[in-house]
Each structure stands twice: as C-alpha cells, then as structure tokens.
C-alpha cells in the first residue's frame, strides 16, 4: 500500500536553497501553521488553497523530485480514502480529506528535507527544551545508520550459517529473527556502555549551565517568513471565527 519510497520526502536533502537557509525554528512553525490551518477547515476550497500554498515552499527548497516520490508512493492510500469517504460522506469531503493529508505530508516534508538533525538539536535547545532531550535526539540520529549496518552484518553472519529469512510461514519467519535480534540487542547494550564510558570521560552531565559551540540566530529573512506565516494563521483563524468575511460558497462543499 505504501512503499519504502514514501520516506524519501522526509530524508534530509543536502543543499543551499532558500528554505535550507531559513532558521529551523521558523520551519517548525511552518509545519505547525499548516497543520493548524488544515485542521480548522474541512471543506474543499480552503484545502485547495492550503495545498497550493505549500507549493512555493517545496519549490523554494528545490526538493520537488523527492516530494513527488513521496506523493507518488501514497497513490493507493489516497484511492482508498477517496472511495471510503465518498461512500460515507460525499465526494467533495473525500477530496478535502485527501488534500488535508497532502498538506500535512508537504509541510512536514519541507521541515525534514531542509533541517539537518544537528540543526534540529540546536533548534530544540534554542526553544529552551532541556539539553538531555535534544542530545537524545541527536544521538539517535547519529547511531541509527551504525545500528543498521550492525544488523546487516548480523544477518550476513547468520545467513552464512544457513539461516533463511524469507522461507516458511509467518510463525517460522518471526522465529527466524531471533538469531538477528538477540545479537543486535546484546551488542547495542554493550555499545551503550562503551559510549557512556566515553561520555563520562569527557565530563558529560556535570554542568548545569551549558554554552553552545553552534548557535542559531534569526536574520531578516527568517523574521519575514515568520511574519508571513503568522499573518496566514491569523487570516485562517479570522475566517473560521467570522465566516461572513468570505463568500458562502467558499466554505461549502460541492453538492455531491
């Protein structure tokens, strides 16, 4: 239903585009604003507007191809939603739901495509989250590829002893993963101890006040985008509170 390609739109893309150079906190705000707006409305025209609004950001991030790979891989999911919502509600509600989902995907995609995990950690710190929280996230990003490589080596080692991971019924297949999981868990626990040793040896966790090597700060273009997003949010909230601001057909669904 959803292929692995779905993740392509959420994997960091190396680059120097306009969106890449925006402060990560503003990008977080972007995802938040679009999420709120997409939840405030549920009819088709506002969704179309929102969806079109995500476009300039995708283009500004020079990540149209990646974004498209994600969208392409969700086609079946969307068809399913389209059919089931049309049957239960209406065709226009179905389209609205699909578009809302697209808006979620696009706005988060912009965030993950253009925010390097390091910058994410720096953003969390700048937003006054506790350092341990930010460090945990960084450490996870750092070690996921290493653990994946370790898992691959373990699989090779066990395959070399005759283990076949793709044979047998469901129960057998699950049982066959035990020779993979046990070494992986044990090695990870051992690794955790060794990493802790190294952290301890460099004074980790001993200072209340921490100054950071890398600092992020907002510049003009960051504030500009922030204000634009704030305005967008304000307009959306106003329309929701005072529907008389817009012509009635805007907030109605199609007569289907």
């Amino acid at each position: 239903m959803i292929s692995v390609k779905f993740l392509e739109g959420f994997r960091f893309l190396e680059g120097q585009s306009f969106m890449h150079r925006i402060d990560p906190r503003v990008k977080m705000f972007l995802a938040l604003v679009f999420t709120i707006l997409a939840l405030l409305f549920d009819t088709i025209y506002p969704m179309i507007v929102l969806f079109c609004l995500t476009f300039p950001f995708i283009v500004a991030a020079r990540s149209v191809t990646r974004w498209f790979q994600t969208i392409k891989s969700t086609v079946f999911l969307f068809l399913l939603i389209l059919i089931s919502t049309t049957l239960s509600l209406s065709f226009s509600a179905a389209i609205a739901t699909c578009l809302r989902l697209l808006v979620f995907i696009s706005s988060f995609s912009i965030f993950f495509l253009t925010v390097h995990p390091d910058d994410l950690a720096a953003a969390l710190v700048a937003l006054k989250f506790p350092y341990s929280f930010s460090f945990t996230i960084s450490l996870s990003f750092r070690y996921v590829p290493t653990l994946a490589l370790e898992a691959e080596t373990i699989m090779e080692a066990q395959k070399s002893r005759g283990l076949e991971l793709d044979k047998g019924n469901l129960f057998t297949r699950i049982k066959n993963f035990l020779p993979i999981i046990v070494p992986l868990v044990l090695l990870s626990m051992r690794r955790a101890l060794l990493v802790a040793e190294s952290l301890e040896s460099r004074g980790f966790g001993t200072s209340e006040k921490r100054n950071f090597y890398k600092q992020i700060s907002m510049v003009t273009k960051d504030w500009f985008l922030f204000i634009v997003l704030l305005l967008l949010l304000a307009i959306g909230v106003c329309i929701k509170i005072m529907p008389t601001l817009v012509p009635p057909w805007f907030l109605e669904g199609w007569p289907l």
Partner: protein, 273 residues
C-alpha cells in the same frame, strides 16, 4: 575447489569498482592467507565466495557450481564463513544450542546431528563449555565457538575474516594450532588478515590484494621476499625478511631462507662463515 574467473565487482552502477578482474584458484586442502590493507577488497572477495554477493562481471565457482545458481544457504553447506566478531553470531543459551542451530538448517538425521556436535565439541576443546552460556566466555573462547559453529556443518571450505584482531600472543598461538589441526582434515582454509607475521609463520601460500587487484600470489616466502610486490602493495614485509635485505646490502651472497623456521639457522650460518 574455488575458482574466480575474471571477477569484477561494484556495489552499484555509479559506485567505484571494488574488485577488478580477479582470477584466482584455490585447490582443496590449501591453507592460504589473503592479505591487503583495509579497503583493498578482502571483505568483498570473501562475500563473493559464499553467495552473499554476486559478481558484477565474471563468475565464481565453488566445487564446480556457479555461485549465481545457488542461494546463500545452499552455498553455506560447502563454504563456511567465520565472521570477525563472534558477537555477531552468538545468540543461543548454551554452546551446544549454538551448534544445534548451525546444523538444524542442514536437513541431517538427528543421529548425524548429534554426532557432528559431539565431534566438534571435542575437536575444538569446547567440552568444558558445552552447557554454558557463550556470552560469559572470554574472547578467545568465543572465537573457538564461532569457528565451531561453522566447523560442525562440515563445509569443505572454511574462510576466516580477520581472526587474529585483538588477540594476545597466547590466544594467537592457540588459534594457529587449532587451524593447523583443522587443516589436517583436508579442508581448504582461507585466512583474510592484515597480520603479516601470522601469515608468514603459518600459511604456505599468500595472495596480496590492493585496490581490488591481485599484486601477489604464490608461496609465502617467495611473495614476501619479492621487494617489488611488497612495495607496490604498500605492505610492511615481515621483520625477518627486512633484516635479511638489510644484511644483503653488505653481503649480497646471503641467501633468503626458503622456510620461516630456517631463519635462525640462516643467521647463525651467516655469523659463522
């Protein structure tokens, strides 16, 4: 018997070639060290031999069968690959169970399985640990177990990937005598290593790999005493050989010994005449 016929390999179409036009042949019963720096292609070569990887170009034949026509599980019946880190394999509650897992996938009768396990435990001196957890044993013992988990399957070929890393002198000596003993059973043993001193002491033949190509292949002393091969492959020749070369600068008639255990005698003869 192992045969690599003009084998080249790369991981994807836009990646660099890891192995370039390798042709090698190992006869049954040989004991060969495959040497090279990190990144020379040794690990890739070894994975081509048990089907974990398939050649991009060329063919690999194990006992006459092309590896592309068999699954890894099928090839693992004949080619046993002992990985560098035993912790990547060990998962069972006891050493005996570890061996049982290894033979379970072979479709042997339960009598044959029991016998094979019994023999392996005794041949590898694992009887004292047979009902103990493999995780609490020392590095050297774990390595013996990991060799045991491959040995019990009775492959005709055993490949060991960097078995001497991190081992002290006593452990290395034990490993060397174990491998020599296993070789007397007629198995082909391939040792992938960058421990040149271990290779010169124990392996009759060496193959030297650099940048995915073969720079040397032949009897150990002959390859290691070839200055051109050693400098081109960027390996430090064994100390004794470098000593003889140094002495040969003043006394060119000093002969290079044919066997590593003849060194002491050679030097003593040198001092006498």
């Amino acid at each position: 018997m192992i045969e690599l016929d003009e084998v080249s390999f790369r991981y994807s179409n836009d990646a660099a070639w890891v192995l370039k036009n390798i042709s090698l042949r190992f006869d049954q019963g040989e004991y060969v060290a495959i040497l090279g720096q990190n990144g020379a292609g040794k690990s890739t070569l070894v994975r081509l031999l048990n089907g974990l990887l398939h050649p991009t170009q060329g063919n690999v034949y194990i006992n006459g069968n092309n590896t592309c026509n068999s699954s890894v599980a099928e090839l693992a019946r004949e080619v046993g690959l002992v990985f560098q880190n035993p912790d990547h394999q060990l998962f069972a509650q006891t050493v005996r169970e570890e061996l049982q897992f290894s033979v379970k996938t072979l479709a042997w009768s339960s009598e044959k399985q029991t016998n094979a396990i019994k023999e392996t435990l005794s041949q590898l001196d694992l009887n004292p640990f047979s009902d103990r957890s493999p995780f609490n044993l020392s590095g050297g013992e774990k390595r013996r177990i990991s060799i045991g988990t491959i040995w019990v399957r009775e492959p005709s070929i055993i490949i060991l990937d960097e078995p001497t890393t991190g081992q002290d002198a006593v452990q290395k000596r034990n490993l060397a005598s174990l491998l020599s003993r296993l070789q007397t059973y007629g198995k082909t043993i391939l040792l992938v290593t960058h421990d040149i001193e271990f290779a010169i002491k124990h392996c009759p033949r060496v193959v030297i790999l650099k940048d995915g190509q073969i720079y040397g292949d032949g009897p150990t002393m002959k390859v290691f005493s070839n200055q051109r091969i050693m400098s081109e492959s960027c390996l430090f020749p064994p100390q004794i050989i470098r000593l003889i070369w140094k002495l040969q600068e003043k006394y060119p008639d000093l002969p290079m010994p044919n066997k590593p255990n003849e060194f002491t005698q050679s030097i003593e003869n040198f001092l006498k005449n």
